[in-house]
C-alpha cells in the first residue's frame, strides 16, 4: 500500500495543426495511504487524462507523479504496481474468466501456475464469481463482467487501484449495490484508490475525499460534506448536489442585493463579505429554502411565489416555484425540496423564505465563494466524515 502524490501535473495535447490544448493544468493532489479519492467533474474536464497519467498510459507534460514516495514519471505502466478498472471492463473476449484473471500474474510475475490458480480462485470466491470461472466474457451479464474486471484488478494486489467510471455501464439498481460493495471492498483491502466519475452521487457517497476538476483545473479537494456545504466557488457549488443549487445574479447596492426578480437585505456581517464586489451570484440549496404554504411574508427574506411544476420522487417533492413579482413572460423559477408527504399542487400560492445563514454568495467575475452557508445552526453535521 502506498500514498500517491501529484505535484503540479500538467498535460498538454498538441493537435495536428499545432494547436495546443491544456487538458490538465497544474494539478496538485495528495492521496494518503489506503485513502479513497474520487476525481469528479463534467465530461472533458481532464479527470480521465489525469487517471491515465497516473497509470502511465499518457505521458506527463509537466510535473511529477509519485507512488509510495518514488517518482514514476518515466516508468512504464507495468512497473508502477497499479491496477486499473476500465469503463468498458476491457476483458479479453477470447479467454475464460479464469484466464482473464490469471493474465496479469502470468505476465508480470514468475509465480508458479498452482499459486496463481489459488489466488485467482480465492479472489473469485471473495467476489462471488467462482461459478463463472470457466465462462467467457461474452456469456456474462454486465454486472458479472464488472465483477470479473474488479477481480482481475484485485488479483494483482497492487499499491494503487485506478477506476475509470467503472459503474457507468450498469443499470441504476445494480449501480447502487455495487457502489456499496466497492466501498466495502476498498476498506477491506485497504488499497489506495483513485476513482473517476462524472456522477456527483457516486462522488458524494463513495469517497473519503473528493477532488472536483473543471476544464483541467482542480477546483476543490475535500471531504464530500466540505465540498457540499462550503464550496470554494460557483462551479463546485453547482456541480455537487442534486437537485442543483439555485443561482441568481445580483447587483450589490451597499447592504442590499438587487436581482431581476427580488431584492435581498444583508446583515452587516455579510455585507462586509461582499464589499469588494459589484456583482455577485446568490446561491441557495433547494432543501435550505423554507417552504410555507398559506402564509404571508413577514420580512425581506420572504417571497411570494406560485408553484409551477411538482416533481415527486417519492421521499421528496422537487417543487419549481416562480416569483409572483415577475412579469409573466420572464419568470425566474427555482427549486425547493419539500417532504414527499406534503401535498403540493401546481398553481398553489406559497411563501418561500431564504434564511440568511443558508445562503452562499459568489463573486460574479472570479466565481470564488465570498460567503458560504454557516453551519452554526446545524451542529449535527460532522464535515470530516
Amino acid at each position: 500500500m502506498a500514498e500517491l502524490t501529484l505535484d503540479s501535473v500538467t498535460k498538454v495535447f498538441t493537435e495536428d495543426d499545432g494547436n495546443e490544448i491544456v487538458a490538465v493544468d497544474d494539478v496538485d493532489l495528495d492521496i494518503e495511504d489506503s485513502d479513497f479519492l474520487v476525481l469528479v467533474g463534467p465530461s472533458g474536464c481532464g479527470k480521465s487524462t489525469t487517471l491515465r497519467m497516473i497509470a502511465g498510459l499518457e505521458t506527463i507534460t509537466d510535473g511529477t507523479i509519485s507512488i509510495g514516495g518514488e517518482v514514476v514519471n518515466n516508468k512504464p505502466p507495468a512497473e508502477r504496481d497499479i491496477a486499473m478498472v476500465f469503463q468498458s471492463y476491457a476483458l479479453y473476449p477470447h479467454m475464460t474468466v479464469k484466464q482473464n484473471m490469471s493474465f496479469g500474474l502470468e505476465e508480470s510475475t514468475d509465480m508458479p501456475d498452482d499459486e496463481i490458480d489459488e489466488i485467482v480462485t480465492d479472489t473469485a470466491s471473495m467476489m462471488g464469481i467462482e461459478e463463472l470461472l470457466d465462462r467467457q466474457p461474452g456469456e456474462l451479464s454486465g454486472g458479472q463482467q464488472q465483477r470479473v474486471a474488479l477481480g482481475r484488478a484485485i488479483v494483482r494486489d497492487p499499491e494503487v487501484f485506478l477506476m475509470d467510471e467503472p459503474l457507468s455501464n450498469l443499470d441504476a439498481k445494480l449501480r447502487a449495490s455495487m457502489r456499496y460493495e466497492l466501498q466495502h471492498l476498498q476498506e477491506e483491502l485497504g488499497v489506495t484508490t483513485v476513482y473517476v466519475t462524472h456522477d456527483q452521487t457516486e462522488a458524494m457517497t463513495m469517497g473519503d475525499r473528493i477532488a472536483v476538476l473543471d476544464d483541467g483545473v482542480l477546483q476543490q479537494v475535500g471531504t464530500p460534506l466540505e465540498c457540499y456545504h462550503t464550496p470554494n466557488n460557483h462551479f463546485v457549488a453547482g456541480f455537487i448536489g442534486e437537485p442543483s443549487m439555485n443561482f441568481f445574479d445580483m447587483d450589490v447596492r451597499g447592504g442590499t442585493l438587487e436581482g431581476e426578480s427580488f431584492e435581498y437585505e444583508l446583515s452587516p456581517e455579510v455585507e462586509q463579505n461582499v464589499s469588494g464586489s459589484d456583482q455577485v451570484t446568490f446561491g441557495i440549496r433547494p432543501e435550505d429554502i423554507e417552504f410555507r404554504p398559506n402564509a404571508m411574508p413577514t420580512d425581506g427574506h420572504d417571497f411570494e411565489c406560485t408553484v409551477d411544476v411538482v416533481e415527486p420522487t417519492g421521499d421528496a417533492n422537487n417543487v419549481y416555484l416562480a416569483f409572483d413579482e415577475d412579469v409573466e413572460e420572464e419568470q425566474t423559477t427555482f427549486i425547493v425540496t419539500v417532504s414527499g408527504m406534503q401535498r403540493v399542487e401546481s398553481g398553489d400560492k406559497v411563501v418561500a423564505r431564504f434564511p440568511e445563514e443558508a445562503i452562499h454568495l459568489f463573486d460574479d467575475r472570479t466565481g470564488e465563494a465570498l460567503k458560504n452557508r454557516s453551519l452554526e445552526d446545524v451542529d449535527s453535521v460532522d464535515m470530516n466524515v
Binding site: 497509470a55 502511465g56 498510459l57 512504464p76 505502466p77 507495468a78 497499479i82 491496477a83 486499473m84 476500465f86 469503463q87 468498458s88 476491457a90 476483458l91 479479453y92 473476449p93 477470447h94 493474465f103 496479469g104 505476465e107 508480470s108 510475475t109 482481475r152 494483482r156
Partner: protein, 299 residues
C-alpha cells in the same frame, strides 16, 4: 384488419415470388452453365467428342473417366509444386500482414502513417512493372540458386530446382503483405483500445500482447486472408512464368496452358478435366474456411 392484410399478402406475394424465383433460377443457370458444360465435356471419351452440344450429357456409351485420369497424371507434378508454393506463401503473407497491421495500428509511434502509406502504395504497383526487375533480381542479383544447391542435399525431398519455388514464395509473400496489412488493419481498428491498455497494465510486452491477445482475436480475419491469398497465388500465372519460366518447378497453372493441345487438334475433354482438377484445391479451401470466412467478413 390483420386478416385482410394476410389475405392481401397471400394474393400479392405469389406473383412477386414467381418473378423472384424466375430471376434467381435464370441466374443460377447463367452462372452454372459453363461449369456444367465443362463437366459434361470432361466425362466424354476424347474420341467420341464432337463439340456439337458440349453442355448435353454424353451418350451412355461415350462416358469415360479417361480425361480425368490423364489430367491427374499430367498435372501431378504441377499440383505438388503449387502446393509447395501456395501453402507457405499464404501463411507467411497472412502472418506478416497481421504483424505489420498490429505494429501500424495498435502500437503507437511516430511516423506510422507515413509507413502505412507506403504499404498502401504497394497494393497499386502493377505486376507488369516488376516483371523484368524480378527476373533480374532472382537470376542475376541474389545467388539463391547457389544457396539452395548447397543446402538441398541436407533436407529430404528437397531438390535443386526448388530454388525457383523458394523465390516464388518470397515474391508472392512480399506482394501479398500490403493487401493483408490493409485487411488486418481494418479489423484491428475495431478492437478496443482499453483492452490493449489493460494488457499493458497487466505487464504484457508488445510481443506478448500480439501473441496472447491480438493473434487469437484475428482468427476470423485469417480465414478471410487465407482464402483470398490462397486463390490469388494458386491462380497466378504471370509470376510463375517470370520466375520459374520452365522446367521441373513449373506450377499447375503453367502446366494447364499447354495441356491437350497438339497438332492433331485440341483435346477438349482433357482440357476441361484438367481445369476442374486444377480448380479443386481453391474450392476445398472455401469449404474448409467458409464458416470462419463468413464470420470474418461480417465481423
Amino acid at each position: 384488419m390483420s386478416q385482410q392484410t394476410a389475405a392481401d399478402s397471400d394474393a400479392g406475394l405469389p406473383l412477386k415470388r414467381i418473378g423472384l424465383y424466375a430471376v434467381l433460377i435464370g441466374m443460377i443457370v447463367f452462372y452454372l452453365i459453363p461449369i456444367e458444360t465443362g463437366l459434361m465435356t470432361a466425362i466424354t471419351h476424347p474420341d467420341a467428342y464432337t463439340g456439337g452440344h458440349p453442355y448435353l450429357p454424353p451418350a451412355p456409351g461415350d462416358i469415360s473417366l479417361q480425361p480425368f485420369t490423364n489430367a491427374v497424371d499430367a498435372l501431378g507434378q504441377g499440383m505438388v509444386n503449387s502446393v509447395i508454393l501456395v501453402v507457405p506463401a499464404t501463411i507467411l503473407s497472412g502472418l506478416f500482414g497481421s504483424m505489420a497491421a498490429y505494429g501500424l495500428t495498435t502500437v503507437d509511434w511516430r511516423g506510422q502513417i507515413g509507413i502505412y502509406m507506403l504499404f498502401v502504395a504497394g497494393i497499386f504497383i502493377p505486376y507488369q512493372a516488376v516483371l523484368v526487375p524480378l527476373t533480374q533480381f532472382w537470376y542475376n542479383i541474389v545467388p539463391l540458386q547457389d544457396w539452395v544447391e548447397m543446402i538441398a542435399p541436407m533436407i529430404p525431398f528437397f531438390q535443386d530446382y526448388h530454388w525457383k519455388l523458394v523465390a516464388l514464395i518470397i515474391t508472392h509473400t512480399a506482394y501479398g503483405i500490403p493487401i493483408c496489412t490493409l485487411l488486418f488493419r481494418a479489423h484491428y481498428k475495431k478492437l478496443s483500445d482499453e483492452m490493449v491498455e489493460a494488457a499493458r497494465l497487466d505487464g504484457a510486452s508488445i510481443q506478448r500482447i500480439y501473441r496472447r491477445i491480438i493473434l487469437p482475436l484475428s482468427i476470423p480475419m485469417f480465414a478471410v486472408v487465407f482464402i483470398y491469398q490462397f486463390t490469388q497465388i494458386w491462380n497466378d500465372l504471370l509470376f510463375a512464368l517470370t520466375i520459374v519460366q520452365f522446367g521441373d518447378a513449373a506450377v499447375v497453372t503453367q502446366d494447364l496452358v499447354g495441356i491437350g493441345v497438339s497438332q492433331e487438334g485440341t483435346n477438349f475433354p482433357l482440357r476441361m478435366a484438367s481445369a476442374l482438377v486444377a480448380a479443386l484445391p481453391t474450392l476445398l479451401v472455401y469449404i474448409v474456411f467458409g464458416d470462419k470466412f463468413a464470420k470474418g467478413v461480417t465481423a
